[in-house]
Amino acid sequence: MALVLIYSFVRFSSGYTGGFISRVSYSLAPSIGINFSTGVSGFTDALLILSVIVIFISTLIAEKKELDRVMFSYILTTESGLIGVLISRDFLFFYIFWEVVLIPVYFMIAQFGSFRKESVGLKFFVYTHIGSVFLLLSIFAVYTYHFDQTGVLTFQIGSLMTNSTFSYMPVFWRDFTIFGFLFAFLVKMPVFPLHSWLPDSYESAPYPATVILSGGLSLMGGLGLFGILLPVTQSLGTFVLSFLIALGIISLVYFALAAMMQSSLKRMMALASAASMGFVVLAFGAGGLETGYEKTLELSGGMFQIVAHGLIMAFVFSALYFIKRSTGKENIHEMGGIFRETPFLASFLLAGLLASLGLPGMAGFIGEFSVLVGSFQAIGWVILLVIFGMILTASYHIWAAQRSLYGPYNENLGRIRDSGTYQTVVLGASLVVILILGIFPNLLFGLLTAYTGGL
């Protein structure tokens, strides 16, 4: 009964925040030098929709028998942290919420994880926390120099993150601040050298937590880049932006190569998730260097990719979860031909894989297309490397589908159950969202282009 109550509460809360989206509110509550102020831009609006949907999916798929009711409270805490991060227009609260998100996720992994759960949870926590420390230091640096320059003590993101503040700072502190911000955001993203927490956490976490990690937490990195750093792209300088482009492309190719040889579908999709966040980093770097309508397309595409990636990963992991529950397996070579017994689940997983490789008609295509087509101005023929990464991506997705879903049925699995009505509805609804965004992208894309300054 209590579970049902919590369950309905979750529904209500998700629905409530869902209602928040449509209007842009700006409320200020001054206290001792620090304001608690919230506001929603077109971009954070898109992310709010994403986070609400992802959390919603996560609660819907959470199995009541396997997971304690405390799981739901973790999910809710994460949600409030996420929403706090998204709507804060004040650095201190931004930071607080940023940290709030970590704690419940740590507990989700450490308490319900599947293998080496404590150490994996600790790794996740320490890794991302180091990022947060740099974020805090950078915030203080900007805060101090802003005070030095103008004599106003404020944590307002809008007034701190300006090119004038950054150009006022001495070179060392400016570089340190930029490094700190980028480090914090890129760990969350994650990009190539800072990703080591990701495969383990994704794989060990229980599926609802994986959904949150892939859909909700990766959003924070994107929010950092496009929400916080976008106004100061000029101060970042060409070198940093080119470096980000390089990181984005390296992540794309590297994760694709690493994912190809994974035997666990869950770990493979974790790496695929990281690879497709490479597009976001690439979009930010390339968009910062570009001019004209390509810049708008590139930046909006990057932001769209965050949303699309979150939805798709939430969908893929939900489908995987149901397959895991049905077959008891998540390793590619332990499955095989399950399409025969579970046509619905297998089709959903295939749809998720196709969406993840950027098939047109699905949300992922719009993001990847915009990023790729928009990036030619900044990267020229390096685009071939991106294409190489995309070919690899297509290859390992399709290869995994071939080995796990098709071919002769693996009789060791015995008789397995296909998805029930409930599961079909949940998966079908998520797929419909992905398709709608892929076919009518302007629902979000308009918001995002407006955010980046329009045509």
Partner: protein, 632 residues
């Protein structure tokens, strides 16, 4: 907004969902629903035809996202394609009700083929390259799903994977082409608001000024990338490797996707944006003609040594699409007429190749999916209607005078002679040599297949027991057979419909006679070898040339065994192990930190004397350091 234009491709989507949803409960409903939907889109296509006749091209487009539009653009070129696709698809759907009649998953089959048809029709009518690409991938997806339709066959799933990945390579080249075009058009004065840089009507109407704005070489690069995409989809050298494997799917799928419609999408792409090719640097159209003519010849050679009836047809498809490509590529000298020639061969080929595949399908049903032509023989007597239809298709394929194939294909060969005459360069003879030589090869592989199937004694038990299906299921084949015989009559009208200045090429009779003679030689030679028992005496299996051709020039092996397995897989394995050790390294750092903490924890054991000792040691160390530094 011209609603019937939209309905052309929306109807089959609805049909796909309906035939899946209703077919789940009653399998018998699936086929009729899908066929009805395709029939409706044929009706809408005909309506669109009259609309275009009366009031010019239809162009409705709306903002899709940012400055990318989505919409329909139907002109004469699109119309011939729309009519062909919906008609051939309808015929194949009707035949599939028989061919797939017993399959337990036929509701899925019909939903997927209807979805495919919708994607193909959408591709043809779409007004923007991005939307074009969406449908382009949708048909690729349907091809993937349908090749792997019998998912329990390992061959089929691996063929599906290969098809998807190889065409994906081409598709991504398409994306790069769009990226360059999109970038280069920034600041182009013709880009008023509401016009998307990737709109097809915009591109083809302004091609000349676009070429001078972005520079012919850049535009040529775009064109070549588009050609790469077309090569992937249309199975042109060197991306043709997926199509013979794709024959593992149901035969109606091969007829629909891998013979008549989807594989011609690449040709359609080149024809669609032909002005871009035409006004860009000359290397763009040179590469089209080179790829086309070479593939036409190359695939013909492989076709001669293949034994699987469907694979022979697959190589012949590759080769015939090479003719279409070459025809369009000739456009650098003969202008837009090349598009007319290519498109006519496309339509005629769709007709007779669908016929050939469906005949093969009928034979395969009778022979319980035995595809090896060496095991057939004597079927003409046992399956007279089917094999006669097969003969009609084969005659059209080898361009026997009087059949439709003759009008479409020999005109291309003739046009390539005109190309040589007009261009003046001695190298310009190469396309003509390849294409005319191709007609010998076509005759060789086609009639090698036909004589093995039709004549002689049955060489297997199954072939002895074969018999015709009920004549009623062969009606679609008969309609297509009539087309294969008589479509040639519309040749001049067709040419003028696609491009108003196009005429049937006329060249000296002695040149005209060469391909026909070669074709006749081919038929006679194959009759002497395979129409009789002589082939048993010939053993060329030790011959080096034979082995190279039999191994498909080692291209499949290069792609699969070298690039995919040796290179990519090794590279990926190395990355995965690096990833694992990197992961361990990071954890090592974490463990090190923890151990360090543990070490210092031991020091804090609460014994004051120890603290004092450490203090003294520490101070002494500091003093020693100072001393050393002072000395230095």
């Amino acid at each position: 907004m011209y609603i019937y234009g939209w309905l052309i491709f929306i109807t089959p989507i609805v049909g796909a969902f309906l035939s899946f949803a209703l077919g789940r409960h009653d399998r018998r409903l699936a086929g009729p629903i899908a066929s009805l939907a395709i029939g409706l889109s044929l009706v809408f296509s005909i309506l669109a035809f009259f609309r275009v006749q009366s009031s010019g091209p239809i162009d409705n487009s709306y903002n899709w996202f940012f400055n990318i539009n989505a919409g329909i653009y139907i002109d004469h070129l699109a119309l011939v394609m729309v009519l062909m696709v919906s008609f051939v698809s309808l015929m194949i759907h009707i035949f599939a009700m028989y061919y797939m009649g017993e399959d337990p998953n036929r509701h899925i089959y019909f939903a997927e083929t209807a979805l495919f048809t919708s994607g193909m029709l959408g591709l043809v009518v779409s007004s923007n390259l991005v939307l074009f690409f969406l449908f382009w991938e949708l048909v690729g997806l349907c091809s993937y799903l349908l090749v792997g339709f019998w998912f329990f066959k390992p061959n089929a799933t691996s063929a599906a994977k290969k098809a998807f990945i190889v065409t994906r390579v081409g598709d991504l080249l398409f994306l790069i082409g769009m990226a360059i075009l999109y970038f280069s058009l920034m600041g182009y004065p013709g880009l008023t608001s509401g016009v998307s840089p990737l709109d097809i009507p915009f591109l083809i109407n302004h091609a000349q000024s676009i070429a001078s704005y972005v520079g012919p070489n850049t535009l040529g690069a775009v064109a070549v990338l588009f050609l790469g995409a077309a090569a992937g989809k249309s199975a042109q050298f060197p991306l043709h490797v997926w199509i013979p494997d794709a024959m593992e799917g149901p035969t109606t799928v091969s007829a629909l996707i891998h013979a008549a419609t989807m594989v011609t999408a690449g040709v359609y792409l080149v024809a669609r944006v032909f002005p871009i090719f035409y006004y860009s640097a000359p290397f763009a159209l040179y590469s089209v003609v080179a790829v086309g003519a070479f593939t036409a010849f190359f695939a013909g050679i492989i076709g001669i040594v293949v034994n699987d009836i469907k694979r022979i047809l697959a190589y012949s498809t590759i080769s015939q699409i090479g003719y279409m490509m070459a025809a369009i590529g000739l456009g650098s000298v003969i202008g837009y007429s090349g598009v007319s020639y290519g498109m006519f061969h496309l339509v005629v080929h769709a007709d007779f190749k669908a016929l050939l595949f469906m005949c093969a399908g009928a034979i395969l049903i009778a022979l319980m999916d035995l595809r090896d032509t060496r095991e057939m023989g004597g079927l003409w007597r046992r399956m007279p209607i089917t094999v006669t239809l097969l003969l009609i298709g084969s005659l059209a394929l080898v361009a026997f005078p009087g059949t439709a194939g003759y009008f479409s294909k020999d005109s291309i060969i003739a046009a390539s002679w005109i190309y040589f005459e007009k261009s003046g360069s001695p190298y310009a003879i190469i396309p003509w040599i390849l294409l005319a030589g191709g007609s010998l090869l076509t005759a060789l592989y086609t009639f090698r297949m036909f004589f093995r199937v039709a004549l002689g004694k049955p060489r297997s038990y199954l072939a002895e027991k074969a018999h015709d299906p009920k004549p009623v299921v062969l009606i679609p084949l008969m309609i297509l057979g009539a087309g294969a015989l008589f479509l040639g009559l519309i040749q001049p009208y067709f040419y003028r419909y696609v491009y108003s200045q196009a005429v049937v090429p006329s060249i000296p009779l002695y040149i005209e006679a060469i391909p026909i003679t070669l074709m006749a030689i081919g038929i006679i030679v194959t009759y002497f070898i395979y129409g009789t028992e002589r082939y048993k005496k010939i053993d060329i299996s030790k011959n080096l040339g034979y082995r190279i051709v039999k191994n498909k020039f080692y291209l499949d092996r290069l792609f699969t065994n070298v690039i995919a397995e040796r290179f990519i897989a090794a590279f990926s394995g190395a990355t995965a192990s690096f990833e694992a050790s990197y992961n361990r390294g990071v954890e090592g750092v974490g463990d090190g930190t923890l151990n360090l903490g543990a070490f210092f924890r031991k020091l804090q054991n609460g014994v004051i004397e120890n603290y004092f000792i450490f203090l003294i040691i520490g101070i002494s160390v500091i003093f020693i350091i100072i001393e050393i530094l002072g000395v230095l």
